[in-house]
Symmetry: C2
Subunit: 407 residues, 2 copies
């Protein structure tokens, strides 16, 4: 497997376009459309929030129906959540506009929205955006990059990636893009993510691989503990790579899953480090925990704690906050088993040894914590399970961004 | 029942003293001692955090042993958490210093600490503080107030209260003090709270009443979602009011429980509104929920959400964030049943009606949200249970306080 240039249009058969529809933002693209020249097998994971946006409900119906998917229309600015019947109607109108413009059946068109909750979408602007994008579809890398920018809200950088790998002598490509900066605490998958591949694979196997990979990638990031109403991750596979369809868990399946993990981990880490107001990536790696679930719970609790996040922002080696977060996470452990280290490009420093705080040089610790990527490494010494979670620091700018009027 | 002047020394038999022991802070009192002239029945609730401070372990042993309690020594600055055997030894040395100075058996002395985790207490300073306080004990209101100040860390105001009520023709007094401003998300009780009464009551009944009252008071506040390693609430009853001992759930028990609820609610609200960096009290009241547990879960989720808290700080009527928080809380409900209102001294405004966002005057909403106490009122229309939770807004100052070196 190797990483290549490009994003969602890198696999054979996919095209993208963008539009400035003026949904909420002015003077920037706020819609993206992704289409495939043939119907795709699709898999998806969605928010666990009880309050699901209209577009999530729309996509769940599509994915769970077993029908193919051939296009996705995405808008930023308004989330189409808490919008009742009118919100559902907006999804339908958008999908039907795609059918009218491109002949793609409306019940194979997914929709996704991100932005303010509790506001209705301007349907005419959406439809106008679809019409404009329909004449502008391109398989170029520029189109993919433009799409990854159009779906941004408070994001400061776009997130896209592509990799290729071999399956039965054929080169398969997997591309992806995602957005997410605030309201990030995925509990099923994350904000908006779109993955494309030209692999031929059985739909059920693809869904299973996606569900497993999400657990250790998108579900392991947090920015603010708020699980969105709109979290959606879609994977479309058009089979145009020409490989023999993967229909069992063989080495080809493993190669695909490895590529999927690589892409999802890349996008997830990039989302965490671009958390609202963030100045650095904050990683927690827990090893030798009693179970995989415990390792996930412990590592997530560390990066989710406001107090831990503020300490990371202040380069303060206040390690007690990490132990405190582990303690209320819900996982059981004995503090007398635990070792805790700080790690970054500046080095490695142990600060807690099986129940006892260690003396350390505060200046060395502060320098270590000043790096752009900081890891808290925790050895539980109670089992053999491990997990890694990603978050970011808590800064003045997080408050500024979210106290600002209707951000 | 009526509220009266005074705090923990208001009930008969209790005395307090403070000392500036220089544990971490300089130039301010950082120790308090509370004693009773006779041994007291005691009840207590403690943090659910797996990582329990040495002092919590010490007090749990004492409370669960069934022995009486006659004194409490409290320090601020260092939490004595994650300190291993040396931390436990510090508790014992403190209690033994009380026995030496006052003749109160060391195994009837509780200890409590609040401050930095993972740092050892300077035992000689603690012992010196106890010696100094032993000659300075007073039943005055000033002594109680001084004690409520000495236990503060990042608190900006002290928290104390006293009430009196009638039991069998006798006047009973109940006093209390607490501290807490950050690392506040009690999951058993809250930071440090100390309640005193001259009521005569059966120990088991007292523990039951405390456990129930805590659920709807201290356990319903949150500042930052971080459940401390040190949460401790102790209630001491010396029986000096002269009432016939309460030994069943009669009207006297009800009068006591009402007074206990009043005192705990007062202290809890005061802690929430004094949350680190807070500019206002943020209350969520949920009515007509399917169950009491659901009502608690929903109301707590609203005030715990970083995004909700930032919106409250910015006076932004971004009600979708509250619905989003309710949606990921874990409680099940249908958004099409829900009504949502903003309430404050400036009025009342409905913003969401059973699945549909309402149009409202943004200026009216912003004015309403600019009040010092803001309530989100939610009618679930799905049952008859209700609950109220308290928190505060998320501000630049919260970040500043917690990013600052070893706050």
């Amino acid at each position: 497997m190797k990483q290549i240039e490009g994003g969602v249009t890198a696999p054979k058969g996919f095209k993208a376009a963008v539009a400035a529809a003026g949904i909420k933002y002015q003077g920037r693209c706020d819609m993206a459309m992704l289409t495939c020249e043939v119907p795709c097998e699709c898999a998806g994971t969605f928010t666990s929030n009880v309050v699901k946006a209209a577009c999530v409900q729309w996509d769940q119906k599509l994915v769970y129906s077993g029908k193919p998917m051939q296009a996705v229309v995405i808008n930023s600015g308004i989330a189409n959540a808490c919008t009742g019947q009118e919100g559902w109607n907006a999804c339908e109108a958008t999908a039907k506009a795609v059918e009218e413009a491109l002949g793609i059946p409306y019940d194979t068109v997914a929709v996704a929205s991100t932005g303010v909750i509790g506001m209705q979408l301007p349907v005419e602007k959406l439809v106008g955006g679809v019409q404009s994008m329909s004449t502008d579809l391109s398989a170029s890398g520029e189109a993919a990059t433009a799409a990854s920018r159009a779906i941004m809200t408070t994001d400061t950088v776009n997130k896209e990636i592509a990799v290729c790998f071999e399956v039965g002598g054929k080169t398969v490509t997997l591309g992806g893009m995602s957005k997410g900066s605030g309201m990030i605490h995925p509990n099923m998958c994350t904000m908006l993510g779109f993955l494309t591949t030209d692999l031929a694979i059985d739909k059920a196997l693809m869904q299973e691989a996606l569900g497993e990979v999400v657990k250790d990638t998108f579900n392991m990031i947090t920015v603010d503990g708020d699980t969105s109403t709109n979290d959606t991750l879609l994977l479309m596979a058009d089979g145009l790579a020409g490989n023999e369809q993967i229909s069992e868990k063989n080495k080809d399946y493993d190669a695909f899953k490895e590529a999927l993990f690589y892409v999802c981990r890349y996008l997830a880490r990039r989302m965490a480090s671009d958390g609202e107001g963030a100045t650095k990536l904050f990683e927690a790696k827990v090893v030798n925990a009693r179970s995989k679930e415990d390792a996930r719970t412990l590592s997530r609790a560390i990066v989710a704690s406001n107090l831990s996040k503020a300490a990371i922002y202040g380069c303060d080696a206040n390690f007690g906050r990490f132990l405190c977060a582990m303690g209320y996470s819900g996982a059981q452990f004995d503090q007398n088993d635990v070792e805790l280290f700080f790690e970054s490009s500046e080095g490695r420093l142990q600060v807690f040894d099986r129940g006892t705080p260690l003396s350390f040089d505060e200046e060395v610790a502060a320098k270590l914590l000043a790096a752009k990527e900081v890891t808290i490494f925790v050895d539980m010494h109670e089992g053999d399970a491990e997990a890694t979670a990603w978050g970011c620091d808590l800064t003045y700018d997080y408050v500024k961004i979210n106290a600002d009027y209707r951000s």
